[in-house]
């Protein structure tokens, strides 16, 4: 085993290190070398901080891992969260807010998927019932999904609960601010994670965190625009009329409140549903006179599956209609613990990719409110759908004209705005750290092209001595466990990782006794 210390150099707050000789910056030699020695890092003048485990990202993925680790008895000084974020819910809150889920609105997440509570008990519904002294949330989860839509928590409840748990586990004591773009294996085992702290926070440009374990949870590598939208935006320099739902676009709703207009909405997923709800709410409650043209690439009329089959097997039949594929959550529920989880865990290669395809595909929940709004819109003629392939966007008629190839020929539809809700995700290599791991860290790709992880979420090919890199979240989609980029998926990954770390004797195994005692502490709000 290498000489990685199990002790940590104290890292008080953000101005944490004394000056070192040299520039303290990364050198071409370091960048071109896959495996670093301690001497190479020292020669570059980069200060080294020893810590047994670092988690890179600092979003909800890092947070739930820290939660598990702290509950498994790991002290705060043994973990560092390397992140540019002040709070773990920061990016998530930004994305949900701009995609029309402010704190008071409800997410698409199960009642028992609580990032602040590894047990999922009491559930969000239970907590809301107590907080509001109402039996309604409990009745709702009792009769869902048969007699009611799935009950889902308000975004604000999720963030407030995470804030409480962050305080309880002293999350911010573990936070070291900065960006990590490079993680390299260390010659004597373990890893160097190169942190770029905020300017002026330290006397050197970089700090090398030397650790035995690295956890990577950097979220989505990025969102991609549909090529025709990107072409229009760059060619006509118009970022006003053509927007992506994941970027701030309040100006669209503001203008539509001030005068009647036409909006083209593209996509058939949850974000499209949310944007439609916002447009329809503004019509119903604020007097907007917006006409909506909803463009589907594939129009679903009935039972379906992710392969696009019109006659899916009776055991693999998803509900659909009016263009949409309906599903409570972003995968069939049993991927988070039941039959599909067990099945996927045994599949390799194309078999795994095939099942991903069958259970995947764009979908949205069936919600009674949305159904009522769309029915009204169709009846009154202000909500129309069109199916086809968009050929291009061009300026015209005082707005933007969408040219669509349909079964009735090419149609041209002018609009004031186009909102892209397709949510295309960028390739993992778009992310600097993930690209570096692929190029220099030994990491590979899984059958659907993302990071290849073991069932324990250890990154395949990246082992270094006794050290290991783990990855969780969206970057690992396509692995043995499908629901990775969700609250519960991050917790399932964290549990597998902590169980693996317990096997490596880094922390205690969370057995029934520890679990129960720790749950009582959670319930009382006792800091750990």
């Amino acid at each position: 085993m290498g000489s990685v210390s199990e002790e940590t150099v104290p890292v008080p707050g953000r101005a944490y290190l004394l000056g070192q000789p040299g520039e303290g910056d990364v050198t071409p030699e370091l960048l071109s070398t896959d495996i670093w020695t301690d001497a190479m890092v020292q020669q570059a003048g980069i200060p080294i901080v020893d810590v047994p485990l670092v988690t890179i990202g600092g979003g909800i993925g890092s947070f739930v891992l820290c939660d598990y680790l702290r509950i498994a008895g790991v002290p705060t000084h043994a973990v560092r969260v390397l992140s540019a974020l002040d709070n773990p819910w920061q990016t998530y809150e930004y994305l949900t807010r701009v995609s029309q889920i402010p704190r008071r609105e409800r997410l698409r997440s199960d009642s028992a998927s609580r990032p602040d509570n590894i047990w999922g008990f009491p559930s969000y519904a239970f907590s809301e019932a107590i907080a509001t002294r109402s039996f309604a949330p409990l009745w709702h989860v009792l009769v869902e999904p048969i007699f009611a839509d799935y009950w889902t928590p308000r975004a604000g409840q999720v963030f407030a609960a995470m804030e409480r748990e962050a305080r309880r586990i002293r999350y911010h004591d573990m936070l070291a601010k900065g960006l990590v773009r490079v993680v390299r294996r260390r010659h004597d085992g373990g890893y160097f994670s190169l942190l770029t702290p905020p300017e002026g926070a330290t006397s050197t440009k970089r700090i090398a965190f030397r650790s035995l374990y690295v956890h990577v949870a950097v979220g989505y590598p990025g969102l991609k625009f549909l090529p025709d939208l990107q072409r229009y935006r760059t060619q006509y320099n118009d970022y006003h009329r053509v927007v992506n739902a994941y970027e701030p676009h309040e100006h669209v709703y503001d203008q539509l409140l001030s005068r009647p207009g036409v909006v083209v909405v593209r996509g058939g997923g949850i974000v499209a549903s949310r944007v439609l709800q916002r447009l329809m709410d503004d019509r119903q409650h604020k007097g907007a006179q917006t006409s909506i043209l909803h463009v589907f690439r594939t129009f679903i009329t009935g039972p379906n599956d992710g392969t696009g089959s019109q006659q899916p097997h009776v055991f693999m039949r998803r509900k659909g209609g009016d263009g949409w594929a309906y599903q409570g959550f972003n995968y069939p529920k049993s991927v988070w613990g039941g039959q599909l989880k067990e099945r996927m865990r045994k599949l390799e290669g194309t078999d795994r990719a095939d099942l991903y395809k069958r259970i995947g595909g764009t979908n949205t929940p069936y919600r009674r409110l949305w159904q009522a709004q769309m029915t009204q819109g169709r009846r009154e003629g202000w909500y129309q759908t069109i199916t086809g392939k968009v050929l291009e966007l061009v300026p015209g008629d005082g707005g933007v004209v969408t040219k669509i190839s349909t079964s009735r020929g090419t149609l041209e539809r002018p609009a004031d705005f186009v909102i892209d809700c397709t949510g295309l995700e960028a390739d993992i290599a778009e992310h600097r750290l993930l690209a570096d791991l692929l190029e220099h860290g030994g990491a590979g790709r899984n059958p659907v092209g993302r990071l290849d992880v073991e069932r324990s979420f250890e990154l395949r090919g990246a082992r270094s001595g006794y050290g290991a890199v783990y990855a969780s979240g969206a970057a690992t989609l396509g692995g043995y466990f499908p629901g990775v980029d969700t609250f519960l998926g991050l917790q399932i990954a964290a549990q597998e990782i902590v169980d693996d770390l317990a096997r490596r004797r880094f922390c205690s195994h969370i057995g029934p006794w520890r679990s129960t005692l720790q749950w009582l502490k959670w319930l009382r709000g006792t800091a750990i």
């Binding site: 008990f121 559930s123 009769v143 048969i146 055991f315 049993s334 039941g338 039959q339 749950w519």
Partner: protein, 141 residues
């Protein structure tokens, strides 16, 4: 719940034996007509044994659900068919060791108490000592 077949069976046997056993132990002395422990526990064993067969049926029905889940409500309403079948078996004398079955009132009180407590247990508190149970299709071991 998100059970697999093996998980269903394990949960059924474990929870009815442990939690159901405790409820039976506590409620038997206060039941009307005073059925002996031997009778109430034999009924509990019958619910477990016949229940394994029920789980096969439920698993089959679950296949028609896209989500492959078993909604909370299903876990509650299946008390109707299960209680009726065991009652029928008792009347037919098919539950070994029970010559004189209890009356309908003590039977229903016992059944409802055991069912409600175990149903509540698996829908929440079970996750506290067994943090991996819900991610493993209901497997306890």
């Amino acid at each position: 719940m998100l059970p697999t077949l093996f998980g269903r069976i394990q949960t059924r046997v474990f929870v009815l034996a442990v939690v159901g056993g405790l409820v039976t132990l506590l409620i038997t002395p206060v039941l009307p007509e005073g059925p002996p422990y031997r009778v109430t526990f034999l009924i509990l064993v019958a619910v477990i044994v016949v229940g394994v067969a029920w789980e096969l049926v439920y698993h089959g029905l679950q296949q028609f659900r896209w989500e492959k889940d078993w909604p909370t409500l299903f876990g509650l309403v299946t008390i109707v068919n299960e209680a009726a079948l065991i009652w029928l078996f008792l009347q037919l004398g098919w539950v070994p060791g029970i010559g004189h079955p209890p009356g309908l009132t003590p039977y229903l009180l016992l059944f409802v108490a055991v069912w409600l407590v175990t149903w509540l247990w698996v829908n929440g508190p079970m996750r506290v000592p067994l943090i991996r149970w819900r991610f493993r299709g209901g497997r306890v071991f």
